[in-house]
């Protein structure tokens, strides 16, 4: 096994996914088969090869430090489930 049920549960929790027991069983099997498949890559000799962070051979895409208009408070909040004055309103966060 490449992944345990407990690991799948942990990853689900980090992703805020509430999975049922049967779902966890199914996903553990599926993720295990994905990892087994991807493991084929380990057969390649990658000594001296820099880890590939990006698939596109491109670098140094910048923008100048110049202001652009913002979209405005109304547009920013248009999709907010709840608002209070100009704020997004969210369930109380207790620290």
């Amino acid at each position: 096994m490449k992944i345990t049920r407990a690991e799948v549960e942990h990853v689900a929790k980090l992703a805020r996914l509430d999975l049922s027991d049967p779902e966890l069983d199914t996903l553990t099997v599926q993720m295990d088969s994905i990892l087994t498949y991807v493991e084929k890559l380990n057969a390649l000799d990658t000594d001296g090869i820099v880890p590939t962070s990006h698939a596109v051979p491109m670098e140094n895409a910048f923008r100048p430090d110049e202001r652009k208009d913002s979209i405005g408070v109304e547009a920013a909040l248009a999709n907010a489930p709840q608002r209070a004055e100009s704020f997004f309103r969210v369930p109380k966060v207790i620290e």
Binding site: R16, N60, P64, K68, V73, A76, A84, V93
Partner: protein, 478 residues
């Protein structure tokens, strides 16, 4: 048991760019909530971040000024976690390839130099702000995303500090440097320079670090010292009772001077970093590094050394004058026009600083410009006015911004060097004080100062003190 404290610091400096790190929204502080936002910083699906070039330039500057090596190939990574102030569900940061590494700063502690290692400096975006707004009927939390996506440099030190004073010295030095570089406004209250402290204890003589607590939310140098001191006491108490320190994040409460556990944030420090596919790698050429080196100003340490060796200023003066780049500049501009370093230094540290402190102004809006101050010092040097009168003229210049010559003329403050006039005043003083004259002539020479004072008063401070001294001596002895 006796314990040795071990401190490492993480400083977040907000960069003074006009726009955010990945979009063109303004970074101005204090705007209406959510008015400086766009699809990129709101984390709307499909919006593409594009890196602000200035952020990279500022990061290189910071690295060079703290003796770091600059990483040639940089990659941004996603740090994944959920929090209401983080709209995307991840923060764009750097992970295994920070832009600067292996630097150091030297600090002076009681005359000794201590080298504090800098592990890394990396670029990242800030989160938004969670506020408990004072809105009637709203007990929920409110989110303002104006700050989201504001560029930050996180500067991480090695756990090299061994006392709260060392931590403060390191922070002040770092603060001074980022301000000299012009990359951060250094405003602690507005959160432009924020500090987290990792604090642990180990038995004196040990070399194995204890478990640390991370102290957050400390926004003044004074509070940092307080927070570390409180944490040292708290941990010592636990260890003395045979307890164990839990690795955790603790919030400093400035009202009580204590720290308390933030258990809510403890869950899952599992950020699952991976390279952000939306941002392409940044390759920094040697030319770029050299170009950035060319923009570095003279840093406080070098300036201080130069003031001491080239201008022969005492260490104390040099230290005070380099406190801020603006103050040093003011001193140097005045010195260029009136090249007597110690005199200029005395005035800048004395009258200028006093007047500014009195009405809470900063040196950059001092009404007495370096040119005006130099003019005043020249009048003093020529003997047109005495040192005492110069202070009166200075106060007037500070109030009105007028040229010193004009004030001297208007108020009739020109120093009296006319020997006839001075002689008349001396005669009058001696005539009025026959008793003291007899005592002086009888051997009580300490009375000399009294006569000088009387003559100066008679002249309303305008008599040339050197002439008064000389002529008085003749009169009294002759």
């Amino acid at each position: 048991m006796k314990y040795q404290v071990v401190i490492g610091l993480e400083v977040h400096t907000q960069l003074t760019t006009n726009t955010k790190i990945f979009c063109g929204c303004s970074t101005r502080f204090g705007a209406e909530p959510n008015s400086q936002t766009c699809p990129v910083c709101l984390g709307f699906p499909g919006a593409l971040p594009v890196l602000n070039k200035k952020v990279v330039e500022y990061a290189i500057r910071a690295g060079l000024a703290t003796n770091c090596s600059i990483t040639k190939r940089n990659v941004f990574a996603r740090k994944n976690y959920f929090y209401p102030d983080l709209p995307k569900g991840y923060q764009i940061s750097q992970f295994d390839l920070p832009i600067c590494q292996h630097g150091h700063l030297d600090i002076d502690i009681e005359g000794e130099t201590r080298r504090i290692g800098i592990t890394r400096i990396h670029m990242e975006e800030d989160a938004g702000k969670l506020v408990h707004a004072d809105i009637p009927g709203v007990d929920d939390s409110c989110v303002d995303l104006n700050r989201a996506c504001t560029p930050l440099l996180e500067i991480v030190s090695e756990p090299d500090m061994r006392s709260p004073d060392e931590a403060i010295a390191y922070l002040k030095k770092l603060h001074q440097i980022v301000m000299y570089l012009g990359i951060c406004d250094g405003n602690l209250e507005e959160g432009s320079f924020r500090c987290d402290a990792n604090v642990s204890l180990m038995p004196v003589g040990s070399s194995t670090f204890g478990t640390r607590a991370e102290l957050k939310n400390i926004n003044s140098f004074k509070f940092i010292k307080q927070a570390i001191e409180y944490e040292m006491e708290r941990q010592a108490e636990i260890l003395d009772e045979g307890g164990r320190i839990i690795q955790e994040t603790r919030l400093f409460d400035p009202n009580t001077g204590t720290t308390r556990s933030m258990r809510g944030k403890e869950e899952a420090h599992d950020y699952r970093y991976f390279p952000d596919p939306d941002l392409v790698p940044i390759i920094i050429s040697d030319e770029w590094i050299e170009e950035a080196r060319g923009t570095l100003p003279e840093l406080p340490e070098a300036k201080r050394a130069r003031f001491m060796t080239d201008l022969a200023l005492p260490e104390y003066d040099a230290e005070v004058l380099v406190a801020s780049r603006e103050l040093a500049q003011y001193f140097e501009d005045t010195f260029t026009l009136f090249p007597q370093a110690k005199t200029v230094s005395n005035w800048v540290m004395g009258e200028v600083t006093r007047a500014l402190n009195d009405d809470g102004r900063s040196i950059s809006d001092c009404p007495v410009t370096p040119a005006l101050l130099a003019d005043l010092l020249k009048l003093m040097e020529k003997g047109t006015i005495s040192g005492k009168i110069a202070k009166t003229v200075f106060d007037e210049m500070y109030k009105s911004g007028k040229a010193p010559e004009k004030i001297v003329e208007e108020k009739g403050l020109v120093q009296v060097s006319d020997t006839g006039a001075i002689e008349a005043m001396i005669d009058e003083v001696l005539e009025k004080n026959p008793g003291q004259v007899a005592e002086y002539r009888g051997g009580k020479e300490t009375l000399f100062g009294f006569f000088v004072g009387q003559v100066m008063r008679a002249s309303k401070g305008k008599a040339n003190p050197a002439l008064v001294n000389e002529m008085l001596l003749k009169k009294l002895n002759g």
